[in-house]
């Protein structure tokens, strides 16, 4: 066994020295560490501390109002208390949280679905409303239980509201929550804006944008209506509790848009359509102001604002009536006989006909081995240009079409806007089809299909064949004729209004171009169209007007009847003819033109013209039809 030397003071002193060295060494390590943190990396940690401390809280901007031409507000905001859930603070099961909250505040299955959908859409970032428009009692109950739900708060929020519900839904459109796709798109828009002008401040603070226009004017005027959200720099605790506001950048509210649309006229027409489907466009020819833009049936845009529930969505989508389809903008129809005045004008301008030149109509026209029939058995007899319009003689136009040829018709009609994008301030406009040999060559694949056959030209004269236009184009064409060839771009928005000063800036009622037309020729056509309503196809409808109306009825075949007789009542509803009508009034100095279609209704004079008559009576004389409920201003 080894015995150690007795520990004496010397050996203890020695160990004390070693201990001192050890302690010194350890303190040096600490000093090094502190120098590393506090001197070398001070900048980095200072930044981290600053980021820790400051949160950016977006302050949403008030969206601009949508106002009709007479100052009636048809898209507005209201404030209501909302139960907001911060998605980042949800711990555990979302359903369990909602179950617990629903014991205090009513949560409908629809609220639940919407909330969960927004959660999924957003990958759980941000704050989402679980329930809006809380009652006072609910608010009080929730506040008493608030401690149980971290991350759930009651806030006053601004909501979009369309006070007239379905009215004008297709032109107003609606807003919805920003989706991830919207966010990405806006991000790239902002970046390209910055690239164009590096000095420009960040045009928008993305996290502050919660809603975006999805369709209609809400979509096309998004940048005007939205404004720019502001934000507060807020000092927050580790738990995210705000302590104080360090700085704030106020939001800039969006601007109001003032429509050219007369919402009372719009309302009247929508009522007049009743259960019929169709499209109706009224334009002020001198300005291009669209006075009414009707698509029937329509839908309630309020359903979409906070996310539409799946049942309603399915109903809207599956309905054979296609209520979501913007008919005047996208629906293409053969213009039928409403094309005849344009054809007649073309004949005069191209000198293929004079007004007095007449044909003898046997009731049909044979071309090749095909017989083109007139709708009047036995024919109209001797037909000059005015009579061809007043009585809507098909044979006159079969011959005219043959004499003009497809390309001449195309070249004449193109500047009127047929088969062209009108440039209206809505997205998704259909181009339609204004046929030409060139068009056919470009459209079809097989060589034998690309060839234009002479026989195809004939039915173009009566607005059938390949002709397919939107009601907007038809109205635009009518406006161009009524305006004596001066083309105004059709638009729904007249002016942008500053929400504070109420100063209005006109948008673009500028002349696009002029069609070089002989005024005498236009007068011939206008006179003939006035005669249509005096003694022609729609004379009975326009009996007793204090003003003169030019018009033209049309009936468009939905499918080819071949040689069979058309029988309205025995034909399945969706296969029945479309009733069309175009009009301008007052005839001497038109302030309104109309183009319309009533789908599957039958003859234009019977179903479309009466609607036009009542619309004109109201617009020109202020006469309100008895059978239509009075217009009531929304509270």
């Amino acid at each position: 066994m080894v015995s150690f030397k007795k520990p004496n003071l010397d050996s203890f002193q020695e160990r004390i020295h070693i201990a001192t060295l050890f302690v010194t060494f350890c303190f040096l390590i600490l000093v090094t560490r502190l120098v590393w943190l506090q001197l070398v990396n001070h900048g980095k940690y200072a930044l981290l501390a600053e980021n820790n401390r400051i949160a950016i809280v977006p302050a949403p901007a008030n969206r601009g109002l949508i106002i009709d031409r007479n100052g009636i507000v048809i898209g507005r905001n209201y404030s209501a208390l909302t139960l907001d859930v911060n998605a980042g603070e949800i711990k555990g099961n979302v359903d369990e949280l909602i179950d617990e909250i629903s014991q205090i505040v009513l949560i409908s299955p629809r609220d639940r679905r919407n909330f969960k959908r927004s959660l999924e859409d957003s990958r759980k970032m941000g704050t989402f409303p679980l329930r809006s428009m809380l009652t006072e009692a609910e608010t009080a109950r929730f506040m008493a239980n608030r401690y149980r739900f971290p991350g759930v708060e009651i806030r006053a929020r601004s909501f979009r509201e369309y006070p007239y519900n379905e009215l004008a839904s297709h032109l107003i459109g609606y807003i919805g929550r920003v989706s991830l796709k919207d966010k990405e798109r806006m991000q790239s828009e902002i970046e390209s804006a910055k690239a164009d002008d590096p000095d420009a401040l960040q045009t928008s603070f993305l996290p502050g944008i919660q809603y975006v226009g999805k369709i209609g004017l809400e979509q096309s005027y998004e940048s005007v209506l939205r404004g720019s959200p502001g934000y507060d720099q807020v000092e927050i605790t580790a738990g995210g509790k705000p302590v104080r506001t360090l700085s704030s950048s106020p939001s800039v509210p969006g601007k109001n848009i003032v429509l050219s649309v007369d919402i009372k006229l719009q309302y009247l027409v929508e009522q007049l359509y009743g259960n019929f489907r169709g499209a109706f466009v009224a334009i002020e020819p001198q300005t291009g102001d669209i006075l009414a833009f009707v698509s029937k049936p329509n839908f309630n845009p309020n359903d979409f604002v906070e996310g539409i529930d799946s049942v309603t969505w399915k109903e809207l989508n599956d309905s054979p009536q296609k209520p979501l389809y913007n008919r005047p903008l996208k629906g293409i129809y053969p213009p039928g006989s409403t094309y005849k005045p344009f054809m007649a004008l073309a004949a005069l301008e191209t000198k293929k006909r004079t007004p007095s030149q007449s044909i003898s109509d046997p009731g049909y026209f044979d071309f090749g081995n095909h017989t083109f029939r007139d709708d009047k058995k036995g024919g109209h007899g001797i037909v000059d240009m005015q009579k061809s319009i007043v009585e809507s003689c098909d044979t006159y136009y079969y011959l005219l079409a043959r004499d003009m040829g497809v390309n001449m018709m195309h070249d004449f009609m193109k500047p009127f806007g047929f088969g062209q994008i009108t440039g209206i301030d809505l997205k998704g406009e259909s181009r339609g089809i204004l046929p030409s040999t060139e068009w056919k060559k470009n459209t079809f694949k097989k060589p034998e299909q690309q060839k234009w056959y002479e026989g195809e030209t004939i039915s173009l004269g009566i607005g059938q064949g390949y002709n397919a236009f939107t009601i907007l184009q038809l109205a635009h064409g009518m406006a161009n004729m009524a305006n004596n060839g001066i083309v105004m771009k059709p638009h729904l928005v007249k002016a942008i209004e500053d929400p504070f000063t109420r100063n209005r800036t006109l948008t673009t009622p500028k002349e696009s171009y002029r069609i070089d037309l002989n005024q005498e020729n236009i007068e011939v056509i206008k006179k003939a169209m006035v005669e249509v309503n005096n003694s022609g196809t729609s004379a009975s409808v326009f009996k007793g007007t204090s003003y003169q109306v030019g018009g033209k009825t049309g009936t468009a075949q939905v499918f080819s009847l071949n040689s069979k007789e058309y029988n309205h009542s025995s034909t399945a509803e969706f296969l029945r003819d479309h009733a069309l009508y175009i009009a301008f009034a007052p005839a001497d100095k038109p302030t309104i033109v109309i183009a319309m279609v009533v789908e599957n209704a039958g003859f234009g004079a019977q179903y479309a013209a009466p609607i036009a008559r009542k619309a004109l009576d109201f617009y020109i004389e202020g006469k309100w039809p008895k059978e239509i409920p009075e217009w009531k201003r929304a509270p």
């Binding site: 080894v2 015995s3 520990p7 302690v23 502190l34 940690y45 605790t237």
Partner: protein
Amino acid sequence: MEKSAISKAKKLFFSIFNGLDPQLGYILLGLATVGFITFLSASQNTPVRFGDELRNLALSFLVMWTISRIPPKWLEMAAIWIYGIGIALLVAVAIFGLIKKGARRWLNIGLIIQPSEIMKIAMPLMLAWYFQRREGILKTWDYGVAAIILLIPVVLIARQPDLGTALLVFAAGMYVIILAGMPWKWILPFIGLGAFGIILIVIFGNTICAPDITWPFVHNYQKHRVCTLLDPSSDPLGKGFHTIQSMIAIGSGGFFGKGWFQGTQSHLEFIPEKHTDFVFAVFSEEFGLLGNLVLLALFFALVKRGLAISAGAPNLFTRLLGAAVTLIFFTYAFVNIGMVSGLLPVVGVPLPFISYGGTALVTLGFGAGILMSIHRHRRLVQS
């Protein structure tokens, strides 16, 4: 007449300090001042009251003053009893102890106490007593006995589980054993092994921290602490959060600090336990590197003075006890600052005289009292 009354009162007041080592006194006063200043800032928006801290400081002073009056001989005689009671309480904890946060560390004897705290002082007392008794006849197996005396409480504490305290108690005992003259040829291999282990952990951190690997003898949460230390960002919102946030607090303090009451990290609740274990982060953020150097200098001076007192102590018991107590102070400070600045794993160790907490301050006062007593009684014993 009046004058003499005042001077009498003065005399009476200052007589309280008679026999206290002035150097040690000033150092402790300095530390307590830093602690109090920091406490004022750190305790803002916490339910802890200013009066409590004053009471704790007073209590700590009272314990220190009382112990300083007790001759070391008495401590020597009480050593085995204190140790024995401590062991008995630890056993009682193992059987009847209260469980909080998954650990069985507390005992309810009218008031709730944590017996492992007693061991922090009892351990060096007991071992110093043992080596004093064996002085001159020390044999190899005496180290074996010392090891048993050391390991019984360490194992009991480690099983609670309270690895932090167990390591501190172990360190306190080891200081005595090493200072008592444990041969270097036995010590160096341990130091080498320890260093080697640390290097291995740092190099192979990624491998051994893989989630499916469990470490022998170690709880999962303890493994987690070491692993988050190696890479705090691996768990930025969990265990690593505290380390990251306290490092941010220290780093953002810079050289001069953000100023008293101006620490954003501390006042916006990013610092956990900001008035107790993590109080150093608050101090660092507000007083910067400059303040830290002053604080470290104070601690260094404390260690130097403590070791000097021990070196001048009359017998082996007082020398070992004084040096061990001093090194415990050092260890607390080093481990605490190391942990708050992200050098060491997070273990519950207070910063001596700075952290808020009654028990710790009393224990520290007790230790300081021992040093004072050794200093006060050196001549008496020698003569």
